[in-house]
Symmetry: C3
Subunit: 348 residues, 3 copies
């Protein structure tokens, strides 16, 4: 769809990213493509043996393959340890993020006490509050809302309609997709006589470097201390992060996950889509939570954790659900039996 501006020879790719060249190094690559759609100026990759047939029939001008496939195809190719990772690096080289167009759009609004770096791009209808700071090379898409005293680190890119509440901090090189909300009030308070007392949230959200946030994801500010997202965290769309959470470095969170207030997630975790983690728990480094799993207590050891009700044809599910209900009655019956019975009076 996009046609890239620059082409690269295979030998240039190898010079940048390593790997072993097989075939002519002067082959020019303009774009990346999947095996089944690639043309002569495109490069594809083969990561799993399941795709060998597709690789044999591909029209790609070159391939990226693993050692075990080094001599399986005679097409110009680069042999590497991890073809998928290598392919992504080539894709990023061929499709660089556009440079910011420095300057503030005449239809944007910047508070006189805000600071915007000269190389930053501020699109139409952006608003920037008092005391906010926008770093060099930042791109703010149309309709972004930067609250008072918020800070956006160098070279971060905010797509359209992103909201950063007052005092929140975004690190360098962030990518924030449209509609995400950083720093909304947390759901903190207490019931008094059946009425909700709202806790004013005076903490911030503090986001490290190289963080990516998905579209319409929401991250609440801390009640008193901060909500913290460490370096390199990647979050997908429609995720909820509660107040005072801490998400460890380089953890990935897939779409629709929800993490309740004051949960602390370790680094290098993989949190599956639509999974839920309750509040006030600690999850160790390197934990992998399966999709749609509900984590109801802390996890101390790395590993993979799962809790999914197996789906089936509807009537079969109905039968299983009935049996599961019986189990809880059985448990009750067993518990009843194990209790000391009161002696019957007057009989015998």
């Amino acid at each position: 769809m996009n046609s890239t501006a620059r082409t690269f020879q295979l030998r240039e790719l190898v010079a940048r990213f390593g790997g072993e060249l097989r075939g002519p190094g002067e082959v020019r690559i303009r774009q990346v493509a999947p095996l089944d759609a690639a043309g002569p100026e495109e490069i594809a990759y083969l990561a799993r043996s399941a795709f060998r047939k597709a690789a044999a029939g591909t029209g790609a001008g070159a391939l990226i393959v693993a050692e075990r496939d080094a001599d399986r195809f005679d097409r110009p190719r680069i042999v590497v340890a991890d073809p998928h990772a290598y392919f992504i690096k080539v894709a990023a080289l061929l499709n660089p993020a556009p440079e910011p167009q420095a300057g503030v759009h005449p239809m944007a609004w910047v508070h006189p006490q805000a600071q915007v770096a000269p190389s930053a791009e501020v699109a139409a209808f952006v608003s920037i509050g008092a005391g906010a700071w926008i770093g060099e090379g930042v791109r703010l898409g149309p309709g972004c809302r930067i609250g008072a005293h918020a800070r956006i680190g160098e070279h971060s890119r905010l797509h359209a309609n992103v909201t950063i509440y007052d005092h929140c901090i975004v690190g360098r090189r962030a990518v924030m997709n449209a509609g995400c909300v950083i720093g909304s009030d947390g759901f903190g308070g207490a019931l008094e006589n059946g009425r909700w007392l709202k806790m004013p949230h005076i903490g911030r959200v503090v986001i490290g470097d190289d963080v990516e946030i998905g579209a319409n994801t929401t991250i609440d500010r801390g009640a008193m201390a901060d909500t913290v997202i460490e370096d390199g965290v990647k979050m997908d769309n429609l995720i909820q992060i509660g107040h005072n959470c801490r998400i460890g470095a380089h953890t990935t969170i897939a779409a629709c996950a929800g993490i309740a207030g004051s949960a602390h997630i370790g680094s290098g975790c993989m949190i599956g889509g639509a999974s839920r983690i309750v509040g006030h728990v600690h999850i160790a480094d390197g934990v992998h939570v399966s999709p749609a799993t509900v984590v109801t207590r802390g996890i101390e050891a790395p590993g993979r954790y799962t809790g999914i009700y197996p789906f089936s044809e509807h009537r079969e599910w109905l039968r299983g659900a009935v049996q599961l209900r019986r189990l809880s009655e059985t448990g009750e019956a067993a518990k009843e039996r194990s209790r000391p019975r009161p002696k019957a009076k007057g009989t015998r």
Copy 2:
């Protein structure tokens, strides 16, 4: 709440939509209403026998009923095969979407290289990027963001603050509710030494004709190929569609559902609210997924599929959950027993 501009006689409704008139055809209808609230200028419908009592006592000026109820009430009525569908057509006739007010609001921003059809309505604070194309009769609500080279088909309506990323395509007669995001980056990449390599997403989102998208729903663009939403798909609010998904024609998806990357859903499916479909699977045409069900593998046959943990009073649930845990231990014990045992040394 709304008072409609025009009234219709029963005979005019029958002339337009069919059905058999019983009673005076000159009765005038101004609005639709439920049985229990309808007045003399309003029409109500009776779809299920459970509502016969309400129908007997209704103040509605006219009724839409099924054949089996044709002579049950003496109120002016239209007898049809499907009263609910008929009622919706009457409601749509009485409550037409407002016509676009042609023109670009002086507080909107349109790139000089964008094309906006003369009959399109562009509200305040809309931004339209370079090379974008807006068709005849389109309505863009305030704060919509139309990316560079995006296309919005004729007579589509985008409510407030909708974001369409660069290069994405929306078909004709779409209805897109506030805050939905089309074309955000997919969650694609790979881990290399514990660090996330982000795949630049160069695919688009391509949306067919007559599609409806709910508020704050997000649809990711494809990594290399496109994410495709076929004609007539209806999506509710807060839904996530991952990169490279394909949603078949006339499939409906209820709120809070999540469909992970590269899943292909057939046509005419009904995907329940808060259900989850994992990535890279194929779901056949005509599949009905129950609410909150997690689909962890492909489905080849039409039918209804379910996986919901039955809820109950909390203590009862606790007992069932304990029994369910024992089941997994039992399974383990059985597996252990079926293993060949090493001979005990030195004994006997």
Copy 3:
């Protein structure tokens, strides 16, 4: 992080909120803080005995404690029945919401037939439709979209990019977080010959007083009657409320919950995060739904209800899931056995 403008003496707090003062009443408090971070001008609270150790070592200038801890510490303190609730009141006193800066920003757009009270604050890029009404002391953050004939009650605060559709009503003192959408079309319609007929939604959303709505939460308008949110309801982020729902007074709903169309929830309920309630059911007052629980039928009695698949280490889960599948087969086998068997022909 925030430094508050005013300080209060302990005796002033007691005069306002009650409680019993122990120690010098002239101690000045500038801010609230957690026990482990509080300094000499800050007040902390002790709600649970688990935190007694932290309270003993705190640097807080004063404490709020329960009766049972009245004499456990010699630090200046206020003894109260509910330290958490008391602490929140002090926090709210020290951190008042900022006063609206009266007036309409020159980069906002207000329809000439809309009414905006003189004391209301309308930020940049807000749009307000024909016939809309904005009450005294309202604050509309940047990018809010107020539809035609919508009403925003006195002293309500809408954060950035909130959308209120035409004709919807928001009560007094609401807090609406960024990106929430009120009044989108409900997912109502019917299939006719495999095609979706869309029901035009002519009902409204009507929101009572003192309601709080989280970021990116969506509430659909009614099909014919209204969707109703009663006084004092508190909703977290990314919640979906379907068309024609009614949420009873002072009910709290945690993040990512979804309530399907026409469900009626009682007052004083607690609806857990990521829980789901199906449509057309009635939930009694005082019901507590656990997180991630799927409520598939109405609930008549107050109490706590749960349905969560217990998570475990992945392989253990796999064994349990296999056993659960067998249960449904067992159920089937039992059902088969209980059927009258056809006589075998020709044998015996």
